[in-house]
Amino acid sequence: MSRTAEHLIVLLEPHYNSALQYCRGLYRNGKDAEDGLHDAIIGAIQHFKSLRDASKFKSWFFTIITRTFYKSKGRQAGSNRIFLPLQENHHALPEVYGEDSSEGREKILLEALDTLNKKERTAILLFEIGGLSLEEIRKIQKEQSVSAIKSRLSRARLKLRNSILEIENIKYNEGGYHVSKTFIQ
């Protein structure tokens, strides 16, 4: 089957919002998330013709976003190198997140996500935001067993919970964001 840009747009539309939410959760700020999304979309365009089963588009696209995120982390780790690969011009992608407008609980969640390592972060975001199954996450993270993903998710949840409690406590004491106390207890 010959695939065109229109096919890609049709397949992307139902998952567009969750893909953007996922991408936003992965990166520290809106600008980085936009860059990551741009790279992921370019990657999807380049490899779209090799997608065999259209029903697996969602996990395929989320895999591309995840790989792009891992690559960007690798680039950050090697930022002290003398020679860096030339980056492509990112201006062509329209602004999707706008000004970093995350606020309230979303902002706290993003702050708490920062305390997780990249695998825990992607696993929990794929599960909570992407709605992917454990098996799909296992494939994306190239793990041998689903139980590895389960324990990763459980670890990530615990860390996230503790981080949120810590941040909320600080914010509450500072009289910043008002958060319902029932969630803190």
Binding site: I9, S18, R24, I42, H47, S50, L109, E128, L160
Partner: protein, 243 residues
């Protein structure tokens, strides 16, 4: 959602935070992103094109590589160096000290005292040739050393690049084909005759699984220099000086 509830995966603390993120609507930008995809549609790659290129490159390059690595080449490999000298018996202790100064564990030194003088032979691997030469220079400066012969032996080896590479990586030993003593004698005597050095006496002795050759000059032929290749590919360079 039901599955998540059943597996107790909804955390009452964190779920409202997740819900806030899930409820964030980004779909307004979809039309702009769609236009971006249309503009970049030319970037779509044909599936398997890269694999085809790699396959073709392998089909062409592999036979070339095999041919290149398996074609036999001729290399000259230095094998060992020998230093022979004659000295007065009286300088034995000085000589011994000098040998200990220069020698390393791969050197083989033999000293034969005979009727007030001493005949010595030192064999060293080709890597120590420079060191052996330095030792010969030192001997030249010593009083009591009467004769000095320094010779280097190298072998012509015919082998493929692949074999040579494996030799370099794994330090595999390559044995050159050895000639019989008679073949050697005939070949050397012919070379000596060609070089007008027929007065040199040739001694061939079997040692360490190989054949060692020694050219002994008589009274008339004291200084000589000869370089020849034996039938088995061994190149012999012999220089003798008297001072």
């Amino acid at each position: 959602m039901l599955a998540r509830l059943l597996y107790n995966e909804i955390d009452p603390l964190t779920d409202p935070y997740w819900n806030d993120m899930r409820n964030r609507d980004h779909s307004k930008s979809f039309s702009a992103v769609s236009d971006f995809i249309r503009q970049n549609a030319h970037r779509m790659k044909r599936p398997g094109k890269r694999r085809k290129h790699i396959t073709w490159a392998l089909v062409i390059l592999l036979p070339l590589l095999i041919f290149y690595s398996c074609t036999k080449q001729t290399y000259i490999e230095p094998q060992k160096a020998t230093l022979s000298f004659t000295a007065n018996d009286s300088i034995l202790s000085t000589l011994d000290l000098t040998i200990h100064q220069f020698a390393d564990k791969n050197w083989r030194a033999m000293l034969h005292p005979h009727a007030g003088s001493m005949y010595g032979t030192i064999s060293a691997p080709s890597e120590s040739f420079a060191q052996l030469k330095a030792f010969a220079e030192k001997l030249k400066s010593m009083q009591g050393v009467t004769e000095l012969y320094l010779s280097a032996v190298s072998t012509t080896v015919e082998e493929s690049r692949l074999s040579r590479l494996s030799y370099k990586i794994f330090n595999r030993h390559v044995d050159a084909k050895e000639s019989t003593a008679e073949q050697l004698r005939t070949a050397i005597e012919k070379k000596l005759l060609e070089a007008d050095l027929q007065n040199l006496k040739l001694e061939l002795t079997k040692a360490n699984g190989g054949t060692a050759l020694r050219l002994v000059p008589n009274e008339k032929t004291r200084d000589f220099s000869i370089n020849f290749t034996l039938p088995d590919g061994t190149t012999v360079t012999a220089v003798a000086e008297k001072w």
